[in-house]
Symmetry: C2
Subunit: 165 residues, 2 copies
């Protein structure tokens, strides 16, 4: 299946939050996300990687306006589940490479990572699906990153910033 | 936007690999994925969470048949980039909750996590997009998890296992 990149989505109206050092046992992801859902806070990208020594980190993005409310909830939850700390950052940009046939996207992902590396832009988070590769970077690199990706994938420069959530 | 879960995708023909303790600086994601892409190994879910003390972990899934080849490549790369270790595991099941309107998916995600928690199934990795919430669990819980999710979302039991990649 030939991967076809159809566009680049980007926005800087989100913030990332991470509950650091959560116990890696059943029920913890629910304990973190349920109070956020009950507070009607919309969540976008959710990322959790494998654990080590029985602990892992659990991250997700929310709308910037919801950062403070989310951190307040998570600080309470962190105490209840015995997590180490809660960190948040609203100086981020979420970049998405959208396309069909991403099933064969290892080449596309590596090309995306290469384009960001060539501009010395650090990738803070990665999450993928069949139709999209999403990365979180520092918001200050947004325009530079979007231009680098347009160039790398030969896309038309006319893009407007999308708002999400 | 009312989230609508349309189905559950699941398969146990993948394996997860993680490069543990990679330097969190530009160019590393490319250094990891480029040799994998050049070896024509298809990659599915890619997950990276925020770093700590200048390091992070970088994971992705490949077809089970590619696990050994992937680990061989990554062990070489890990040496070149100064990563701590490379781990792999093919005893996994990838579960995806598919639907539209996932933008409001915090409620859907928390319901999915609750269903898995109620069966005491540990979530090893999480990755999401607008149309899908993907988790990695131990392969031995595949049937139990699929049944629990069908029940939680009121879906028709008739599902057949999908092969991916
Ligand atoms: C960390 C969290 O995902 C935990 N492993 C769970 O299953 O809920
Ligand atoms: C870890 C890796 O993603 C690194 N931050 C990079 O930008 O390549």
């Amino acid at each position: 299946e030939q991967a076809l990149v159809s566009g680049i989505a980007f926005n800087r109206d989100e913030a990332k939050v991470t509950v650091v050092g959560v116990p890696d046992r059943p029920g913890i992801a629910f304990a973190i996300l349920d109070p956020v859902a009950k507070a009607n806070i919309e969540v976008d990208v959710i990322v959790q990687n494998i654990g080590k020594d029985g602990m892992t980190d659990f991250s997700f993005t929310v709308h910037r306006n919801d950062l403070k409310r989310t951190l307040d909830i998570l600080k309470r939850v962190a105490g209840e589940i015995g997590a180490r700390e809660v960190v948040g950052d609203d100086k981020i940009c979420k970049l998405g490479l959208v396309g069909v046939g991403m099933r064969s996207h290892v080449g596309v992902a590596s090309q995306m990572f290469s384009a960001l590396a060539s501009e010395n832009i650090n990738i803070q988070m990665v999450s993928t699906s069949e139709i999209k590769i999403t990365v979180v970077i520092d918001e200050k690199y947004m325009e530079l990153a979007v231009r680098a990706l347009h160039k790398a994938f030969g896309l038309d420069e006319q893009v407007k910033e999308q708002t999400s959530l």
